[in-house]
């Protein structure tokens, strides 16, 4: 018997998450409708001024993704807490760091799919121009989704067994994500609107740095979170 490597085990964890999502489709359906409702409410709240809507579209897009991510991350570890499945994985044994990588990729991929679904909605509601720099836009969305998922996976695992987990996750996560959101909103703005001072590169670097820092921190901390004392 040859056990899978760290990345092989992470791939199995990711595939398992996709299998569960494909069987139920509960998480994706919920976050799509939730974020659609959020974007719609923002457009109603701002009124019919198309210039204002276009200017604030990146912020609304990322707020929609952020709120949906709380639902998605919470559900991601609810399935692990049920029947103590996470403990079962650790005892199999699966290296906790492989579980972390697999869960981050699973959460990030779901958020990324959601972000792609929301783009045409943003066109319809906020009249944004997706054709200005589409490749950079996709890159920003990808980096932002990874940036939400890396600390989100750790905090979601911490709060999964807590009594007030639905309250605890956003309380822990939102303050950490402030720099990421700032960078993601600004970078998205410069892919949708003119960027005369060429600021996009700096924001992309900040997004990348945030991702690397939180992926490393999660990689180091997750074994402590996944195992009981």
């Amino acid at each position: 018997m040859k056990r899978p490597s760290l990345l092989g085990a992470a791939w199995l964890v990711l595939k398992k998450d996709w299998q569960i999502e494909w069987r139920t489709r509960a998480r994706l359906t919920a976050i799509i409708f939730f974020s659609l409702a959020t974007l719609l409410l923002f457009s109603f709240a701002m009124g019919p001024d198309i210039v204002t809507l276009r200017a604030h579209a990146p912020g609304y897009l990322w707020l929609g993704l952020l709120f949906a991510s709380v639902l998605s991350l919470g559900e991601s570890f609810r399935v692990e807490a049920e029947n103590q499945a996470l403990t079962g994985l650790v005892l199999t044994p699966v290296e906790p760091r492989a579980i972390f990588i697999g869960k981050v990729l699973g959460n990030a991929s779901l958020l990324f799919v959601l972000s792609l679904v929301l783009l045409p909605v943003a066109v319809a509601l906020y009249d944004v121009d997706l054709g200005r720099d589409p490749l950079s836009l996709v890159l920003v969305l990808f980096l932002g989704c990874v940036g939400i998922s890396a600390p989100g996976t750790v905090y979601s695992a911490i709060s999964a067994n807590a009594r007030a987990r639905d309250v605890m996750l956003p309380l822990l996560l939102f303050p950490v994500l402030v720099p990421l959101l700032l960078a993601a909103v600004s970078a998205t703005k410069f892919t949708l609107q003119p960027d005369p001072q060429e600021q996009l590169g700096s924001w992309l670097k900040l997004l990348t740095a945030f991702d690397l820092i939180y992926l490393s921190v999660g990689f180091l901390l997750f074994p402590k979170v996944a195992e009981e004392d």
Binding site: K2, K16, Q19, Q84, L89, L91, V94
Partner: protein, 215 residues
């Protein structure tokens, strides 16, 4: 003779409550242990410590010669636990759950191994049903299939007869005896003392987390 279990003054605390207190015992490899005691006496906690799902607050626990905390990576492949929690994913089918375990264990030809185990546990007809639709007894059978796939050196069974029908109980007894014939040390926690004594060599009775002589 090598020791399967060696507990030296182990204690486990949850908050202010001591679930196990200064417990010492040994079990030779290949021999089996019956774990008895009232609800809350510490049986499940002890099984979780041996399985490395949790670690002693004080004392030293060695399983198959490995320190349960410091050498847990080497120890975990040698220990299998059937617990109150089944460790299965509710939204995956029985076959998918077992296949996942097989792939993590690096089992060659996982499909045929999984089908064989499901057939043996009488679950092959429901192989593609999600575990969410399973009865408690079927979940227990699936958990045992998972244990058999691991072929552990130490098998930890927490109330294995609970939720099983008479045929399932007879099958479970047969499986315990088969594991013992293969040299596996079985630690059996049950309230069915007579049945447990028939299947094991030694007995450890717990009261309030302490080892006591059974009355």
């Amino acid at each position: 003779m090598a020791l399967a279990l060696e507990a030296l003054d182990i204690s486990k605390r949850f908050g202010a409550r001591w679930a196990l207190s200064r417990l010492s015992f040994t079990l030779e490899a290949g021999r089996s242990l019956l774990l008895t005691g009232h609800n809350g006496s510490g049986k499940t906690t002890l099984l979780r410590l041996i399985a490395t799902a949790s670690f002693p607050t004080a004392g030293v626990l060695k399983v198959m010669g490995y320190h349960s905390q410091d050498e847990r990576e080497a120890l975990r492949p040698l220990v299998g636990l059937v617990s109150h929690a089944s460790f299965h994913y509710e939204d995956l089918s029985a076959a998918q759950n077992l296949t996942l375990t097989a792939k993590f264990l690096g089992v060659e030809q996982p499909a045929s191994v999984v089908t064989g185990l499901l057939d043996r546990m009488g679950l092959v007809a429901r192989a593609d049903s999600p575990v969410r639709q399973f009865s408690a007894g079927m979940r227990k059978r699936l958990a045992i299939a998972r244990l058999l796939m691991r072929a552990p050196k130490v098998a930890l069974l927490d109330e294995p007869f609970g939720e099983l029908d008479p045929a399932g109980i007879a099958q479970m007894e047969g499986l315990i005896q088969e594991l013992q014939r293969q040299g596996t040390s079985v630690v059996l926690a049950t309230h069915l003392v007579e049945q447990g004594q028939r299947l094991t060599h030694e007995r450890l009775h717990l009261e309030g987390g302490r080892k006591v002589t059974p009355v």
